[in-house]
Symmetry: C2
Subunit: 261 residues, 2 copies
Amino acid sequence: DLKPPPVLVGGEPLDKVRHVAKAMGFEKAVHLMDYLARHPEMDPFGTDKRKGPQDPKDWETFAGVLVVADPGDQFWPALQLVTDVLLSPNPQAAELAPEQVPIYFSNNDLLWKEAFAHSRFGQGAYVATLRLLYEKRLAALGLSEEEIAARTSGRWNIYGKPEVPQQMLAEKRLMITAAAKGDAVPAHFYMVGDNPRSDMQGAFNARGAGRPWDGVLVRTGVYQDGDDTAHASVVVDSVAEAVEWILEHGINEGHIPAEKS
Amino acid sequence: DLKPPPVLVGGEPLDKVRHVAKAMGFEKAVHLMDYLARHPEMDPFGTDKRKGPQDPKDWETFAGVLVVADPGDQFWPALQLVTDVLLSPNPQAAELAPEQVPIYFSNNDLLWKEAFAHSRFGQGAYVATLRLLYEKRLAALGLSEEEIAARTSGRWNIYGKPEVPQQMLAEKRLMITAAAKGDAVPAHFYMVGDNPRSDMQGAFNARGAGRPWDGVLVRTGVYQDGDDTAHASVVVDSVAEAVEWILEHGINEGHIPAEKS
């Protein structure tokens, strides 16, 4: 249980991430920008834009790392400081400890879609680059490939789509909402999304685990015609069309075989 | 020749990097922070700290990318925007072009040493993470491993230590300095440095290419006792000791066999 000991928390925006960590019960959560404000020498590229520590308690030994949102503009200190803590739970005291603390990521999407015409890198880009640099740093410290693999094994935890627990959490929330409103118990679930690798793959993985899910892929974001649909049951132009399609074809009929859009 | 067409330039500090690019003859150099100020939607994590364009000329199609210094705090936009330009010389017009523009890095050191007790990630960390994300992005666009390798082949250029041309440039500068001062022509060269993988490996690579070089490794930075010395001829505690050692053992005697410190 990570809740009593201090944990290092990463993600932007700073205030929201601090709030989420507290709401999750992590009373001794130190945001990496607060940790950096306490030890500015850890980032030689740091500039005056660093925000001072919100919580000046001097917790220095971390029990784990939680990445609750994309590091965004904090990408660089997030790579450097989180690597420091993965090498050693107290980087001020030692460069390399025999064991790595566990790290948890909320999401592994490589890409997402925002205002710009082309997909942008998301938290999955941070997960992949952190892993690469951490492994290169361990190799530079003389660890073998086997030692590196053993060190990270079971201590590198990625949540979020397209993992089955994420889909089951969605089921649970929908069940609770339906019960609260006095609606019928949902018997089938539809994942409406624009990202084949997370949204559609999530529905497909849930189905593989025996859950009643189908994927409805919309052309409004990451997905472009010609891309792999990751087993979407249908491809539509908009969320309105997705709802229409579900009302027409889908409700409570169980799994629908994939069809061409 | 990249000098007439516009090139995208990355690195911190912004003003120095702009100055270096101009001094190198790149009149149409656009710093990536200027490019980002022109197209803020390219970075959804961008905040108000972005600096406005120094040079408002609307060059949009780049002939190449120069990374002249560590991106540091600009690590995140440097990963996103340079990937955009490697995918397409004009990302505003197209997401993916058939060819990649060439990219040049000034340095490939994974680690360097500053005020903090443990080594910090340097430009080599940027080179490695950019390559990883660019390849993942190409794979997400449907390119095969072979297509990705062909696309980057010969267009991914890394300068700096431990490459032999870097050591030969140092020789040339020392020859010019000696001639200007009326000193004797240098017959042997010593690389004094703290980083085995760049400094000592550079001297070793030069020796492998028939150049008269030895490496003198100092314990003042990246190197820690027990690390691989990368063929250093000697390990000493300080730069003063390095000079003493060279005066005592080294001058103009040609290659010195490696000895234990």
